[in-house]
Symmetry: C2
Subunit: 182 residues, 2 copies
Amino acid sequence: MALRYALMAALHEAPATGYELTQRFRSRLANVWNASHQQVYRELARLLEDNKLLVETVAQSDKPDKKRYHLTIAGRKDLEEWLNTPQPRPPVRDPLLVKLFAGDLLDSDVLKEDIEKLKQDWLAQLGYFRSIEHTYFRQPSALSRQYRLQYMALRRGITQITAGLEWLEELETTLEELDDAP
Amino acid sequence: MALRYALMAALHEAPATGYELTQRFRSRLANVWNASHQQVYRELARLLEDNKLLVETVAQSDKPDKKRYHLTIAGRKDLEEWLNTPQPRPPVRDPLLVKLFAGDLLDSDVLKEDIEKLKQDWLAQLGYFRSIEHTYFRQPSALSRQYRLQYMALRRGITQITAGLEWLEELETTLEELDDAP
DNA sequence: GCTCAATATGCAACTTGTTGCATAAAGGAG
DNA sequence: CTCCTTTATGCAACAAGTTGCATATTGAGC
C-alpha cells in the first residue's frame, strides 16, 4: 500500500516519468524509499488505472518516448488522507546483525570486509547527502515550512548514517581488542 | 532467503519453539529481525523439510503440546556458509519520511501526534535494551568473542534509537520555530 | 567496428510478507 | 459465569518485492 503513496508524494513534488522516479529513489530519496524500476512501472500503471494519475506522452526524436505522470486532484486528495493518518514504522531486518548474533560461526576477516564495504557505502552516501544540504539548505530557518520539512527528511538520512559510522568504529575497536587479547 | 538464516541463527543460540522464536523477534531481537508467527511457523516447516532442523515434541499436561526445533549439522553448516558470504543491506522504506517529503499536505497537529507516538515507542524500546545491557553486558571486555559480538548487535539498537530520538528533538524544534514565526 | 553504459519501458514467474481466520486449554478480571 | 489474555500451532488468500528477461536507441571508450 505504501509504495503508491511514496510515488504520489514524489509526483506531488514534481511530475516525472517512471525512469526518473526510479532514479530519485536511488539518489535523493535513498533514505526515504526504494523500489526497483519494475515495481515502479507496475505501480504507476495501477495508479493510472485508478485515476490517481494522468499521463503525458513526450515524443523524443533521438531516444525512446517518455511518459510523464502527473498527480490528479483525486490522487492529491488520496495522498493527503494517507499522510494524515498514522502509518506503521518500517520493519527491522538487518542481515549484518543476524551475522553478529551468530558471531561464533563468523570469520573475523569476512566480518572486517563487510565492515569496510559498508563504511565505504555509507561514506559515499553521506557525502552525497551533505552536498545536497550544502547546495539547497544553507539557511534552513529562511525556508518555507514545506522545504524545512523536506530538510528534516534529509537530516534524518545524515544523522542515521553518522550514527551508523560511529557504531562501525565501536565494532572495529571491539575486533581489534579481540585480536590483541584472544 | 534471509528469514531462514535469522531463524537458524536464533536456533543456533538455543533450541526453541516457533512461539518462542516469535517472541524473541519481538523482544530481544527487535533491532535485528522481525517476523509474524505465521511466517515463522511456515518457514520452520520448510527448514524441517530441507533437513536443516529436527523436532522434539514436548508433551505438556496442562497446555497444548510444544514442538522444540534444533539445528542439525547440515543446518549449522548452511548457516555458517551464509554468514561468511556478503549479504545485502536492509532496504529503506520509511512512511514518516514520505510524509515529511510531502510536508505541504501534512497537518502539523497530526505530525506532532506521530512524533509523540514514535518517541514513546522508542523510549520504551531503549529502556528495554538498556536493561539487557545492564544485566548481561556489564563488563563487555571480560566476555568471550561470541558475546562481545552479540553485545555489538545490541549496541547497534541502542545507538540507532538514541540517534532517532535526537533527530526527533531537532524535528520538534523546527516545528516550534514554524509555529512561532508563520 | 565492437562492446558497454545510459536512457526508457515493460512482462512473467517466483519469493517474501501480510491479513484474516481457526483451534484449544488455562488462568485472571469482572 | 463470562469474557479477555496468554500459550501454542497452523492454513489460505492476497499484496508486495525480487529476479530474469526483452526491446530500442544514443554516445563513450577501446
